[in-house]
Subunit: 484 residues, 2 copies
């Protein structure tokens, strides 16, 4: 696990982004392929990143009044089938359990691709009165979708996620919930993962199977492609009608509640990697970094006094950084400092401190910031206490760098010709008035290879400007991009 | 979800312990049955209890140097089959995936019953040198075992657990790891869940399939039956040989590492319920209680001044309890105080504070301790700040009560006749010298209906005293009990 890989072992990001991605994921030991088709193993460094991301979102989910619970992994086929559009959408990618021990089952069981159906089945028994509403729950679980083409973190047969499910007395309350949770996803993406995102509504063809509408956040990867990083669905009464969930309202009338669901998965770790990384490997925002500060001692082995001085300084940093800073002193033997630098760069550790005897003579150490390579000499005195501020600044710099990328690669277009021109040299986020007709969506796809309408932006309105495809007056502004 | 259930809706614990258990689990909304055979849904109150238990153990797992990661849910049949004894032990209870989408799979996939096999397959690629050891990892996941008879929390087709897996250079180091993790389980059971446990080694017939030996902790339920609450296995080189895991040691010789695994599951929540509950319902130890203090305001609806006084006192308690005390003011309308008392008693909340206008006239409120019904008048002044000490005392009292039960129901026996006599009136934990032969184990089973050797106690030695079954000199002291 400690064998070193030199930089040459990851592909050039500018030359082969896809290979760079896989190389970084594997060489930084975030995750790896397994013998199980389309399934990955998440290794300790990658899982620690997911744990911090999960904990941040879990706190938001609880802060907004939701409680965690746990529903079964296996869903009887008949339960899955009750909402017609839903089963049609998910059946092709379901993994089926047909045998328990030696016996063939009477009814086959789906490994959950998502849990609306089993949750509705249970809440049909638990919801009776307006007093039982709202129901605000969430679960952190694994799900399976039998994907044809898979990619570490981004698209795997099994993945980890949270799925929130809520029931409300009114349509408006459900709509507000859909917005609230999308805002939590934005907060997670922007304030924790340092990835600016565009909020909006998915088109009809891209909404969740069984939903009235789906909202998404879309992040820009550093190759200009988009990644859908979280979705929030208004399910209206589609499932509650199909599953017979009813409550008696204050006027003693039976009603079907309104429902929402929303999910965010390990996919977002893939987004984090592609949004921030560079030629040397990962760049991890400090707030979610498993290791925030790597300290590399440098001392010649033939100089005991210098070695002691260096070790004392490292120990002092460890002590003074305190429990809130995740600092690791790299005391591994038999590795050159350059190898250690490359090791921590590949892993995207936000700050590296080099502790050498010469600088220590002046009471100083060298601090290198991963996100921009900025290098400063810092007095050792009080450095431990200054680390939280330095990490906060690195967080801001990481976010600002991603924002600059998004700004540079965002283009407004008012016609298909302009759209084609915008994509002529590189992938961009193009925004233009859009009438939301199926044929106009098809025209966009046909105009630019692999580009699609990602969402109808929540922050923009077309105010009747002509649709870029058909020229008819449009209300929405579409975000158009190539997407993972 | 807020409808009230009166005490009469749970069976009498002394008359029908089994029904009492199911009633409490369902009425306190910890968990419930689902339409999926043998699978349960863990409801928010039960899941919050599991989250606190999990977080406490997760901190211990990390403190002892382990890292979390995530391996796939699905394991190809051929991987499961490589360790002969292991596959024989688990194959009868495996759920098999045979189809992905519309296609039949070339090889069927097991839903993990435990993950030694897939983990060994991966580490065969990752372990090469003595520098790669030890490997100390853990995962928190769901597993499936196709059980014939199921019971909420105690035995379900799907359950949640952690499974730790480690690889070591030496046999001794692996043995020390097995002990270390059993000690973590003891700490969790005793210091957090307030359940005293007996450590020991499982007999040959009860060890994990593929292990050299298995250690367990056994807790006493309040009906005198035992619950195996956690196990830690020394796998020797059985799996590492079968899966071809090799490393080069310091002398450049190829070796198979020594391996351990250890697991603790949602089953322990069932133990917590059965160890502490009483006729009124759950008794939850404060350290893991989702709600530690329930405040019930009492004011006549026709007295606005009194109502304001009571509400002010409740708000003050909320404020002064601070973020470290999990306090809930029960402001639900339309419920009588007696219903609210029963509600929080059923849910086992450690402290209940009754805030009434009359007591408040003297600056006082009534505090009732769930574990022993102890009732005191307390000055409202400074009560918030005193709650942590009162909760700590309730934790101690809960543990002491369980310890008394264990002491009262523990019996030393020196023969099968004494064993039979010990079980004549009630279930006990019987301890006696035991030679560990299969036929003596069978003799114990035959002597007392449903009793088995739970483990060979780690805290006792027979020193050559005669085995209770055959009379030959014994080294071990067996713990004999009826078990869930």
């Amino acid at each position: 696990m400690t064998r070193e890989h030199s930089l040459s072992q990851i592909a050039s990001k500018s030359e082969d982004f896809d290979r760079w991605y896989v190389d970084v994921v594997r060489r930084a030991e975030l995750a790896d392929y397994t013998p199980v088709r389309g399934c990955m193993v998440i290794r300790p460094y990658g899982y620690a990143l997911w744990e911090r991301t999960r904990d941040a979102l879990d706190a938001m989910i609880k802060r907004t009044g939701h409680e965690n619970m746990y529903f079964p992994l296996l869903i009887p086929e008949s339960y899955l089938a009750k909402e017609a559009e839903h089963v049609e959408g998910f059946a092709p990618e379901v993994a089926w359990v047909t045998h328990g021990g030696d016996k063939e089952l009477d009814e086959r069981l789906a490994i959950r691709p998502t849990s609306e159906t089993i949750i509705c089945s249970m809440y049909a028994d638990w919801i009776h009165s307006w007093r039982d509403l709202p129901v605000l729950i969430n679960q952190w679980v694994n799900v399976c979708r039998w994907e044809k083409r898979t990619r570490l973190f981004l698209r795997t047969t099994e993945f980890l996620w949270q799925e929130g499910h809520t029931f409300h007395a009114t349509d408006e309350e459900a709509a507000a919930e859909v917005d609230t949770m999308l805002e939590c996803y934005r907060e997670l993406a922007e304030d924790w993962l340092a990835m600016p995102v565009i909020k909006g509504r998915k088109t009809e063809s891209e909404r969740f199977a069984g939903a009235r509408y789906t909202l998404s956040i879309e992040a820009m990867m550093s190759d200009g492609w988009a990644l859908q990083a979280g979705t929030s669905h208004h399910l209206a009464q589609n499932f509650t009608t199909a599953y017979g969930i009813k409550y008696t309202d204050r006027t003693n009338t039976e009603q079907h509640p309104f429902q929402t669901s929303w999910g965010l998965s390990t996919r977002i770790i893939g987004g984090l990697i592609m949004a921030h990384g560079d030629e040397a490997g990962l760049i991890i925002p400090p707030r979610v970094a498993p290791i925030q500060v790597a300290v590399v001692p440098i001392a010649r082995s033939n100089d005991d006094d210098a070695a002691r001085l260096v070790e004392d300084a490292c120990a002092r940093l460890e002590r003074e950084a305190g429990p809130d800073v995740r600092l690791r002193v790299d005391r591994r033997e038999g590795l050159r400092p350059g190898d250690k630098f490359a090791h921590w760069e590949l892993r995207g550790v936000p700050l590296r401190i080099t502790v050498g005897a010469r600088d220590l003579g002046d009471g100083q150490v060298t601090v290198v910031r991963r996100v921009d390579g900025g290098q400063t000499l810092e007095p050792l005195e009080g450095l431990g206490a200054r680390l939280p501020d330095m990490l906060a600044a690195a967080q801001v710099a990481t976010r600002a760098r991603a924002q600059r990328l998004l700004d540079e690669r965002s283009v407004d277009v008012s016609s298909l010709d302009e759209l084609i021109a915008a994509f002529a040299e590189r992938a961009v986020f193009a925004s233009g008035p859009f009438c939301n007709l199926d044929e106009c969506e098809a025209a966009v796809k046909a105009a630019v290879h692999a580009a699609t309408v990602r969402n109808l932006r929540a922050d923009r309105t077309a105010d009747g400007a002509p649709c870029i495809a058909c020229g008819r007056p449009a209300e929405d502004v579409a975000l158009i991009a190539r997407a993972y």
